[in-house]
């Protein structure tokens, strides 16, 4: 067990290291000189050189990568002498646009992204599992086919099309919801809720569709299992057979996928946040792309990768807790 955890953590660190390297290489090799960008219009070659030296981009690749990694874990110092700027760990550099520390920018926007992700996750998990169960129970009947149609639609509608349509119908035409406007929860809970409602729905619909199909398939498959027949042969009531012998095996795999999907969402609902003007990490990433603000793009990429990799590991560990076959090695 301890070895298993150690193995997983080690694997995670390797993946994270590769992600860092990969990201760094791409930005190092492909991107235009950041010094030129920072320097702006009235620039002299000397000024560019000075900025290069400050950023450290005049040094060889491995040195830069080393400094970058060190910055992540221990912080780093930009420039020398009186102009030196201390960037505390985990240092992701400074935005070319606003000169803010990328780490601070992320931390500021994390609550919004987390709110979006949590709300959407609750919605899609509830809708997906409920829809899947209903479909499985009514297999082949009208309800099943109706839900199948809904899931296909939900899976196919691009979320920005859905976002714009919802906004047009609910806000502009019907006026059921006010125009989205950033309001803290403490000030006006109702408006806060109304603001997040559409993003939640938009993000949840596609996922709910996928989860519905998954739940349905798993439940139907599990009901064919021999141990379900055994349970019935024992004279257990249908409710007990369902609860104990069908649901647990059918829903366990969903936990795995949920962990990863949730982690993925936390690191950037770029489109949804942009369309609804929510000031989260996704919108920050989208904005930094249009402005070619590399340190921010890189920071968000690393954060997203980190979340997905960690989410993966948490799920793996969680799995050992809920599936006895993984927990205790086979002694047969």
């Amino acid at each position: 067990m301890i070895r298993f955890v150690a193995n997983r953590v080690l694997g995670m660190l390797v993946v994270l290291f590769l992600v860092c390297l990969f990201t760094f290489v791409i930005f190092f090799v492909l991107s235009p000189d950041p010094a030129v960008q920072i320097c702006g219009k009235n620039c002299t070659p000397e000024a560019i050189d000075r900025i290069r030296a400050n950023l450290g981009v005049d040094r060889p690749f491995w040195t830069q990568f080393g400094t970058f990694l060190a910055g992540l874990f221990a912080g780093r110092t930009y420039g020398t002498g009186a102009n030196a700027i201390e960037c505390a760990a985990p240092c992701l550099g400074y935005s070319f646009q606003s000169s803010q520390a990328v780490t601070d920018m992320i931390v500021q926007r994390l609550p919004v992204s987390a709110t979006v992700a949590v709300g959407a996750a609750v919605l899609w998990l509830l809708a997906g599992v409920a829809g899947g169960l209903l479909s499985a129970v009514r297999e082949g009947k009208f309800a099943d086919r109706f839900i199948a149609g809904l899931t296909l639609t939900g899976m196919s509608i691009p979320n920005y099309v859905l976002a714009l349509s919802l906004q047009f119908v609910l806000v502009v035409t019907l006026g059921w919801l006010p125009f989205p406007q950033a309001v803290p929860f403490s000030e006006d809970p109702l408006q806060w809720f109304q603001n997040f409602l559409m993003p939640w729905i938009v993000l949840a619909i596609g996922m709910a569709a996928v989860y519905t199909r998954l739940t349905r398939a798993n439940v139907i498959e599990t009901l064919q299992e021999n141990y379900v027949r055994t349970a019935r042969a024992k004279g257990l009531s249908p409710g007990l057979v369902w609860r104990r012998h069908a649901l647990r095996p059918a829903l366990t795999p969903i936990v795995t996928i949920f962990g990863m999907d949730f982690a993925g969402l936390l690191g950037g609902a770029l489109i949804t946040e942009t369309v609804f003007g929510l000031n989260g990490i996704g919108k920050m990433a989208a904005d930094s792309i249009t402005k070619n603000d590399q340190p921010v793009i890189m920071g968000v990429t690393l954060l997203a990768a980190f979340l997905v990799v960690v989410g993966n590991m948490v799920v793996d560990l969680l799995y050992t807790a809920i599936d006895p076959r993984v927990r205790v090695g086979s002694t047969a």
């Binding site: 021999n226 349970a231 042969a233 076959r325 047969a332």
Partner: protein, 277 residues
């Protein structure tokens, strides 16, 4: 109280399809005496497993069952599902072919053994249920039952899993045990042990036994009465002795021809294991 535990008359199982009903069991008749052991023999597709599921009322969706199944004087085919449930597991228990897939990988064997007990008896505490499970495991000779009760199915070997399945039926002291190919998935050595165990249980509890198999050698070990089936039809039935010494149907003779070799092997193994003791 009659002498007949189970009386089956005109049992037919069919799957209605576009080309008319496909009958997998055709007007089957047989009796099982209280405490008796009946072997139902036939190749796969002969309808023997459908017969056992029909008795349990566990036929797959879409299957139709007609005829009469009388258990201890009660007509099972007339019972509503809820009443049938009180028979299942409590008075009629069933053992399946593949013990691994028949056990739920998510629960300990103890939980699964005690499950029937807890659902048929009201007010059973966790501790009592556990004690019942341990006792049942001891009766099927699982060593170190008090510790093994908390293990999961995948931690047991094939033969041990089948013992767990048998223990599962024992906790309720059923009057009838139906074993559907209980040894097919097991090694030959283990097969003999499981058959011995079934015989022992029967002697101990006085429960009736229906043993369903494709292998005449297996029934020869246990059954006192044999039903031979083919393609859903009853080929012939009679006492085990008569079937083995004086088979009437050519099909039975054909099945018997395949036996001696295996029979010898089991006999040999038996001698060897006995010598080893």
């Amino acid at each position: 109280m009659t002498d007949t535990l189970l009386r089956v008359r005109g049992l037919t199982v069919s799957f209605p399809s576009a080309n008319g009903p496909g009958e997998v069991v055709k007007t089957l008749d047989f009796d099982l005496a209280r405490g008796g052991a009946l072997g139902i023999v036939g190749e796969s597709g002969s309808g023997k497993s459908m017969t056992s599921l029909a008795i349990m009322g566990l036929l797959p969706k879409g299957a139709e069952r007609t005829g009469s199944i009388e258990f201890d004087g009660a007509e099972l085919t007339a019972l509503p599902e809820r009443a049938m449930r009180s028979y299942r597991g409590d008075r009629i228990a069933m053992i399946f072919q593949d013990p691994l897939s028949s056990l739920n990988p998510y629960y300990t064997v103890g939980t699964q053994i005690a499950e029937a007990y807890r659902s048929h008896r009201s007010g059973v505490t966790r501790r009592q249920a556990r004690a019942v499970a341990i006792e049942a495991m001891e009766r099927v000779h699982i060593a170190d039952a008090a510790r093994r009760v908390d293990h999961y199915p995948h931690q047991f070997s094939g033969g041990m899993r089948q013992r767990v399945m048998i223990a599962m039926t024992l906790s309720m002291e059923p009057e009838l045990i139906i074993a559907d190919e209980p040894t097919t998935a097991l090694d030959v050595t283990v097969q003999a042990q499981i058959l011995d165990l079934l015989a022992e249980i029967r002697a101990d509890t006085g429960a009736g036994l229906i043993l369903i198999t494709h292998d005449l050698a297996v029934v020869s070990e246990v059954a006192d009465h044999i039903v031979v089936m083919r393609d859903g039809d009853l080929v012939e039935q009679g006492t085990a002795e008569r079937i083995f010494t004086d088979p009437q149907a050519p099909y039975t003779r054909m099945l018997l021809d395949a036996v001696p070799r295996i029979d010898d092997e089991i006999g040999l193994l038996r001698t060897l294991t006995e010598e080893a003791r």
